[in-house]
């Protein structure tokens, strides 16, 4: 444990790439390849890939709208749990509560379904979204994949 009582990650990785739609598939495959060390079930792996795909697509379509910026993903593994952070420095979300409503989308003209955040929520154990209009958005997802080790007091 470190000073704050949090357990240190046993492994981690970071990836960065421009907000091009070609990179959506790269991003979810990379996270899945990293998560593979936790020996996930096929179902857990699909859940992780889908959640990452949603967060990365949102950074590309909504965060950077039509321009190009950088998307950053970091993953950490602690006691059988994977923590995934997807960040952009795009336009941000003005109303988070509205954004989290199932079926709400600000881009219906792009045939967005408004289900991205709802899918993330139901495919990971914990979803946290922080956003500042004009500065960007950070999505943190946590999922227990393997059993945590038994801790000694």
């Amino acid at each position: 444990m470190d000073q704050s009582g949090q357990r240190m990650p046993q492994n981690y990785m970071q990836i960065q790439f421009p907000s091009l739609s070609e990179n959506e598939s790269f991003a979810r495959v990379a996270v899945a390849a990293f998560a593979a060390q936790l020996d996930p079930t096929m179902e857990q792996l699909t859940e992780l890939k889908t959640a990452v795909s949603e967060a990365v697509t949102n950074a590309i379509i909504h965060g950077y709208e039509s321009g190009v910026g950088e998307v950053r993903i970091s993953c950490a593994i602690v006691d059988g749990r994977i923590d995934i952070t997807v960040e952009d420095e795009g336009v941000g979300i003005p109303d988070l509560e509205q954004a989290r409503q199932p079926l709400y989308t600000s881009r219906p003209e792009l045939e967005r379904s408004g289900m991205g955040i709802t899918i993330m929520e139901s495919f990971v154990d914990e979803l946290q979204i922080e956003s500042r209009p004009g500065q960007g958005t950070r999505v943190v997802m946590r999922k227990q994949v393997a059993k945590p080790p038994v801790l000694h007091a």
Binding site: S21, E22, E24, S25, T50, S53, E54, T57, S113, M115
Partner: protein, 116 residues
């Protein structure tokens, strides 16, 4: 890359088979192709088969719901088939199962859009 779409005109219906990983990148590429076939078919009937779909996220849901809207506007019929458990879960979550019939096989899905 993984982009895959195969479309056929079968007995008055457009049958679309989606292959590979259906994400935002791919959806952007195949939407026009489907819409063109629907126009040729005068929006009579559409069957989408997911047998070859290895992955799908909400961009795929947007594609399905968008085509559903178009077909309804033109009083056309639409059905889905060969849906894996992972996809079914997405369809359930998003309400697709409430508005569109899902069949095990292409032939059942085709029969359903020809009825009535």
């Amino acid at each position: 890359m993984d982009v895959g779409i195969e479309s056929h005109f079968i007995e008055g219906a457009v049958l679309v088979r989606l292959q590979g990983e259906l994400d935002h990148h791919v959806v952007e590429q195949i939407r026009n192709e489907i819409d063109q076939k629907l126009q040729e078919n005068r929006y009579q009937a559409l069957v989408i088969s997911f047998r070859g779909t290895d992955f799908m996220d909400s961009s795929g849901l947007g594609l399905i719901l968008g085509r559903y809207r178009t077909m309804m506007q033109h009083q056309g019929k639409m059905s889905l088939c060969e849906v894996s458990p992972a996809l079914r879960r997405l369809f359930e979550l998003s309400g697709v199962l409430k508005i569109l019939p899902v069949f095990d096989s292409e032939s059942e899905a085709l029969a359903a859009v020809k009825e009535g």
